[in-house]
Each structure stands twice: as C-alpha cells, then as structure tokens.
C-alpha cells in the first residue's frame, strides 16, 4: 500500500451567510480504507463532502488527492481526480434507463451508438469484478431504491473513481439492503478503492469502517481507529460534553390519557414505511419524549399526529375518541398545538410580519376579527402581548420574520402554540438552531405546560434535551418504538437503543 494518503484536507473552511458550516477542517484518509465520518444533522458532513466533490467551493483550505494538491472547481474536476460520489438524494434521471444514467456525462463521443455498446460491456465487466448486478435496460423509477443506489455506485466506478464518497447511503435502504451495501463496500475496499462513508448511524460506523472521524457543529473533533473505539465514546464525541442544561422540574402528576396512538403506520412520499405499527399513550400532565437518531420515523410520526400526513394504517385517539378528520385545522379545534420540527418551512412564513406569524393556524379564530375580517389591531395587540411575555427581540410586531434570530423565531412559534392553552402539545426539535438563553427559556415553558396539566409529546434528536425534559422516554429506531425508559435512564443505555443495538 502506498504511504501517501488518498485524501488530505487542510484547513477547509466554508460559510453560508451567517452559518459557519465548516470550520478549518483537517482530514486524512488512508488509501484502501473505509473511512467513516459521523456527526449529527447539520454538523457539516455533507457540506464537506460537497466541497470535495466540487459542488461547493471552500472559502479557504487545501485539498490533496494522492499527495497532489488539486483544485476541485467543479464536479468534472472531482471526477478527473478519481473521486466519485453517491449522493443522499440520488442524482439519477428517473425516466432514463440504467445504461443512459451511467453514460450521462461520459458518453464517449457525440453519437450514442458507440458509447452504448462500450458502456454495456464495461457494465458487464464491473458486474463481474464487483458482483454489482443490474439490468442495464431497466428504467430507474421502476427499480427498488437499493438498486437505484447501486446504479449510483456503478456511475462512479464507470468513471474510474478510486475514491468513493457515500452520503448517508442507508437512509433510504431497508436493513437487508443496507447489509448488502456494506458487503459491496467491503469488497470495493478489498479491491483497493478508498471509501468515505458519511452517516449519523453509529451502528454502520462500527460495522464497516476502518477509521472514523467525528464532526460536531462544523468542526472535526476527533479521528479514531474504529476497532479501538466504542459506540459510547463516539456518541459522546458526536453530541459533545455540553454543559448539561439543568431544568428544575418536580414530580409529574400524570392524569387521564389524552393522546392514544394505536398501531400507527405512516409512509413517506416515496411509499417507504417510516413509522411501523407504533402504539403509545400520552397522559395529561406528563412529557413523553421520543428519542432517536434523525430519520428513524420521528418526523413522519409528528406529521401524522398533527394531521399533515395521512396515516397509512392505525388509529389516533384524543380523549379516547378517534379523530374524525385528519386535518390540522380540525385537530387545533380539538385542543392540539404543534411546534413543528422545521420552523422555516412549516411553523413560520418568513416573509410575513412577526404579528402575522403569531396567528398562523389560528387566524380563523374570532379573537382576530369578526366573521371574514381580520382585525389587525387585535392581531397586533395579541402579538405585542406575546412579545412581552416571551421576550421576543426585537420587540417589533411589524418586522419581517426572516429578520429575527433563530431563537427569537422559535419563540414566536412557541408563544403562538403555548398561548392557545392547548390540552395536547406536539413539540418537534424545540431548540434546534436556538441560542443557549432561548433554550433555557423554551425548556422552562414546556415544563410549566406540563405542570399545568397538559399532555406533551416531545421529539428531539438532542438526547440531553429528551433526558432533562421527559417523564417517560420512548426510543425510536427504524420506524419502531424499540423500548420505553424512565427519565433517569443513562445516556449509554439510550444511546445503544438509539443505535438499534439494545432494547
């Protein structure tokens, strides 16, 4: 094995506006190894790989491939440097055949006829070398997701890639498909390819990688030899030893069951089952936390419970009564409030004034105007009251919502949902992208809702948050609830459950 590393990144730095996605990243990837990069959502993994593949330009820093400094100005340059990438969202033309997708960009001449036969035989060779079977004439959209991904890998190999980047490759795969992928990756490594595997799943890292680097909040925090580290250590590195935000809370006094979920199954837009036969209850006066690594079905669960996504099967009961109409407006009438995971796309209309957002979803309410009219004075008064109570800054109800900081935007949502005095509250990632001061504030608000006898379902990928707020913790993995723990469950125990290792 050559001593020169396949990839060296030195001081890679990238900002998107105010977001510092990559902070002077250094990384060395040995030739012929599988190198995992792990980190939570938004840690900067995908940005880093997009820079390596020429999709984005780093603001500063150096990239060396096989010891040679290279300037990767676009994907073409990355391909020329022997780098191939399998994107999280496949870069495939869905109504094209496998063959056409593989040829695209490497047609071998102005006419397709020659390239077609060449590609066909090359595919045959790749199939023999790596056992990557796929019908070259199949149409992509008719193939199962696992095979589509195989086409992405073949695309890279066809272009002579020696270094293969896979961005969250198992997110869309069934466990069996994922295992098969790992076998393929192992074989590719054995044939001398270098593989960079980006994931937030600890299980995958432990199962397949030789080396692992951990990213957290745009920084590369550690690199370990996989065989000499543990899931626990990696989990800790990923989350970071943050000052545990201590939340004062007394004993919970759970009352009657408010929300009851029975055998709920939810599929996403592609028809993949994301929530699989899930049942649980939430009582008045308790916070039930759903722990889990992002992408294990929590988002779809919240969407189904809030009426945004139609469940595939199962029942949702509020106060023991099945909900008659799965519709966000109807559920609000039944006393449900929803702090959505994604405030930018759901919880807020960023182009609206603060005051306009403070009534979103409740705009039909009589307090904001009689009949069909909207009483802007009443809306403004209401907004100002919330601004004062929740210390939203700047205290200007007429400022465009886009101009508020993340923490203050989230406070607008939290204020709106809490001040409706709901009986049941769905809370998704309440403190994502929120500054420390606001986190504490929002946490206290959620606790006081519980103390006021509300039923609260909390979804968060921040284990700390789940542990400090919840009275009961459900752990979700691959669409299932794999176990229930009390609030004093250890981080290790939960981490293992989240990784799908223990129950």
């Amino acid at each position: 094995m050559s001593s020169l590393p396949a990839i060296e990144l030195k001081g890679i730095d990238k900002k998107f506006g105010a977001v510092h996605a990559n902070k002077t990243i250094d990384l060395t990837v040995a030739k012929g190894s599988i190198h995992g990069i792990i980190g939570e959502n938004g840690a900067g993994k995908s940005t880093l790989m997009s820079i390596l593949y020429g999709f984005y330009q780093a603001d500063s820093g150096e990239i060396r491939v096989n010891g040679q400094p290279v300037h990767i100005k676009d994907s073409q340059a990355a391909i020329a440097a022997g780098i191939g990438m399998v994107h999280q969202h496949f870069m495939l033309v869905e109504n094209f055949s496998v063959l056409e997708n593989i040829m695209l960009g490497a047609e071998g001449g102005a006419l397709l006829s020659k390239g077609v036969s060449h590609t066909r035989s090359a595919l045959k060779r790749l199939e023999e070398d790596y056992g990557l079977e796929v019908d070259p004439d199949a149409i992509i959209e008719e193939l199962p997701v696992g095979l589509q991904q195989r086409v992405e890998i073949l695309k890279a190999l066809y272009r002579g890639a020696d270094i293969l980047i896979l961005d969250e490759p198992t997110g869309v795969l069934t466990p069996a498909e994922a295992d098969h992928l790992f076998k393929i990756l192992g074989m590719l490594r054995d044939q001398g390819k270098t593989i960079l595997l980006i994931t937030h799943k600890l299980r995958e890292i432990m199962a397949i990688t030789d080396t692992v680097s951990v990213m957290r909040r745009g920084e590369m925090v550690a690199t370990r030899t996989t065989s000499q580290t543990t899931v626990e250590e990696l989990a800790e590195l990923m989350v970071g030893r943050r000052v545990l935000l201590h939340v004062d809370k007394g004993e919970a006094n759970p009352g009657a069951i408010v929300l009851s979920v029975k055998n709920l199954t939810v599929k996403d837009g592609r028809g993949v089952t994301m929530v699989d036969n899930v049942s649980f209850d939430v009582r008045a006066g308790e916070i039930v936390g759903i722990a889990g690594v992002a992408g294990n079905g929590q988002s779809e669960l919240l969407e189904a419970l809030s009426g945004i996504r139609k469940p595939h099967a199962g029942e949702i009961l509020i106060d023991g009564k099945p909900i008659d109409k799965v519709d966000p407006a109807r559920l609000r009438e039944l006393g449900l409030a929803h702090i959505p995971e994604d405030r930018h796309h759901m919880g807020l209309v960023l182009k609206f004034d603060e005051a306009e957002n403070s009534i979103l979803g409740y705009h039909r309410d009589a307090r904001y105007g009689r009949g069909p009219m909207l009483d802007l004075k009443a809306v403004e008064k209401d907004a100002i009251a919330k601004i004062e109570k929740y210390d939203i800054r700047p205290p200007n109800p007429h400022l465009k919502t886009a101009n508020f900081s993340g923490g203050n935007q989230q406070k607008i949502v939290v204020a709106r949902e809490i001040e409706r005095d709901p009986r049941l509250m769905l809370v998704g990632q309440p403190t994502r992208g929120v500054d420390v001061g606001a986190i504490e504030f929002i946490h206290r608000r959620i606790i006081s809702m519980r103390d006021a006898g509300k039923a609260i379902l909390l979804v968060s990928v921040e284990l700390d948050e789940i542990r400090s707020l919840s009275d009961r913790i459900l752990v979700m993995f691959a669409g299932h609830i794999v176990g229930e723990k009390t609030a004093d469950a250890g981080e290790q125990t939960l981490g293992l459950m989240m990784a799908g290792i223990a129950a």
Partner: protein
C-alpha cells in the same frame, strides 16, 4: 359524385399539410426547449419575429434563403434573450415568454410601418424571392393514376422545400434527442439538472443550447409563414399558431413523432373548419367553425386533466436551477 367527394378530401388534406407546417416547426422548437426544462410561451413571438425578418431580408436580397437565414438569426436572438432572463438571471420563464411575445408583436409592426409605410405589411415578394412549389418526380404522370397517384400528385407533391424540411425535422429531432450525446444530456437536464451537474456537465450552457435549437426551429416556422405560405409579412400573421403549437406539444406528451401527428390533427381541424364554413351538414345544419377552432385547446385541456392518459411534463420544467443552498 364519389369523385367530387374524393377531390374535396384531397383538397382538404392538401391544406391540412400547409396549415400543419408552421405548427410542426414551432412545436418541435418547443420540444427542444421544454425537454431541457425551459418553458417557452414565447414561441409565438419568435415565430412572428422570424416571419418579419425573413420577409424583409427576402425582399431586400431577392433570395428566400437569405430570408431564412435572417429569420433564424432573429429568432435565435430572442431565444438568447429568453435564455438570459430564465437561465442566467433565473427569472420567471412564463413572464419572459409573455414579454417576448409583446416585444415582437410590437416591434414587427412598428418597424414594418416605419420602413415600408404599408400599414405594417412588407412589400410583396416576387416568385424568385419565395420558396416555390416543388413538383416531385412523376407527379404529373401520377395525377391520373388512380387514388394513390392522385394523392401523390396533389397531397404529397407540390409543396415548398420548407414543408419537406419540416417533415424531415421530425426524424431528425428524434435522432438528436434519442441518439446523440447532446440529446441525452438535454433530456436529462429537463428531468434532473442535479444529475447533469454532478456528472460534470454545465447546466447553463446545455440549456442555452436547447433554447438556441428552439430559436432555429421557430426561425423556420416564421419564414414558412412569410416567405413560403404567403408572399409578405402581415401584422400579427402568426395569429396564435405559437399557442396551438404549444398545445400540440403538450398533446403529444413532449415526443417528436406524436408531435407530428398532433400537428397534422390540429392542421386538419383548421383545414376542415375552412372547408365547412357556410356548409350545411344534413340533419344538423351548419356546424359552427368555432368548434373546430377551439377543439385543439379543448382536447389539450382534457389531456392535461388526466382524462386521456397522463401528460408528464419534464420534471424540472419551469424551475431555474440553483446549486448553492
């Protein structure tokens, strides 16, 4: 009696072909643009601009071929404007198309009037400055040789060169789209520009080339109107044909050979409407010609509503490609 009906049929079919040609060129133009993900409401305008430019150039030089060159050149220039607005500046493609239709409608009339002072008309072209009719070999002899001969002599033969080019453009377009590297990439960029970009191909340049193809074909259709079908430019002579072509493109679900068939169908409806004008159908009475005029649009709406199969527009159509997040 039968012979008279047959003659009528032949005459309707002949005019079907004549009326289909501008639709065919224009719909193929739309095919190149829309398959690359660029909506093109401005087909009408480009056709009109080309008609004007070709008439002026053919009048000035006495050569229909120079007229064609001018028509194509001007049409491509407006394609580039559309590209600049919708590709480079990521503007709204519909708005850009509407703007081009206005500018060309106004400009052709203003310039025509300023240069020739004939109420927007250009001076009539002599026979040598037009694309004349071509009598195919054996047509004269075939005329009296039964049904097929009659058909050959009066429907197939006797059109100008652009007519034959239009029909040649159908397999050519098919070949370009499905058998060349450019076509593969063009179809890919209209479905998933990300796939093209990650394959190391410039989305911008590819889409520009697609709009240029559209410009060239609109150039042909405009020239056909002014220098082949007529002998001068007349204000607003495209008269909505660009929109019918758009309907034909959709009706054909963005595929070359069905485009030819839908253009022939829409051309036939037009020819039939002309033929039926003022005639009474036994038992029904006079059928309003407006029904035939509206039929292409009604059919297209029914298709769009998903009542005749599914019309899947290119997935990335109308959406500017943005790489940076």
């Amino acid at each position: 009696m039968d012979v008279a009906y047959f003659d009528l049929l032949i005459s309707v079919l002949g005019s079907t072909i004549r009326l289909s040609i501008p639709l065919l060129f224009t719909a193929l133009a739309g095919l190149f643009s829309e398959r690359a993900g660029i909506f093109d409401i401005g087909l009408e305008g480009k056709m009109l601009a080309a008609a004007f430019a070709s008439a002026v150039a053919a009048y000035g030089t006495g050569s229909p071929w120079i007229g064609l060159l001018a028509g194509v050149g001007v049409s491509v220039a407006f394609s580039l404007v559309h590209g600049f607005a919708s590709i480079t500046n990521r503007g709204n493609q519909i708005v850009s198309g509407v703007a081009i239709n206005f500018v060309t409608a106004g400009l052709t009339a203003v310039l025509g009037n300023a240069w020739f002072s004939q109420g927007g008309r250009t001076p009539p072209l002599g026979a040598s400055a037009r694309f004349g009719e071509i009598v195919l070999p054996g047509a004269e002899a075939a005329r009296d040789m039964g049904v097929i001969g009659h058909f050959y002599a009066n429907v197939i033969s006797g059109h100008n060169i652009l007519t034959y080019l239009a029909f040649a453009a159908v397999p050519l377009s098919w070949w370009i789209l499905y058998r060349t590297r450019f076509g593969l990439r063009l179809r890919a960029v209209g479905e998933n520009p990300g796939a093209v970009d990650t394959a190391g191909i410039s989305v911008t340049w590819l889409r520009y080339r697609a709009t240029i193809c559209a410009g060239i074909l609109c150039g042909f259709s405009g020239t056909y109107l002014a220098v082949a079908q007529s002998a001068s430019f007349i204000t607003n002579m495209s008269a909505g044909k660009g929109y019918i072509a758009l309907a034909a493109l959709i009706f054909a679900k963005w595929r070359p050979v069905p485009i030819m068939l839908s253009c022939l169908l829409f051309g036939f409806l037009d020819a039939f409407a002309n033929f039926m004008q003022g005639k009474k159908v036994p038992g029904i009475g006079e059928v309003p010609v407006q029904i035939f005029q509206a039929l292409p649009y009604i059919l297209t709406c029914i298709l769009l509503a998903g009542f005749i199969g599914v019309a899947n527009a290119p997935k990335a159509g109308g959406v500017p490609y943005v790489k940076e997040r």
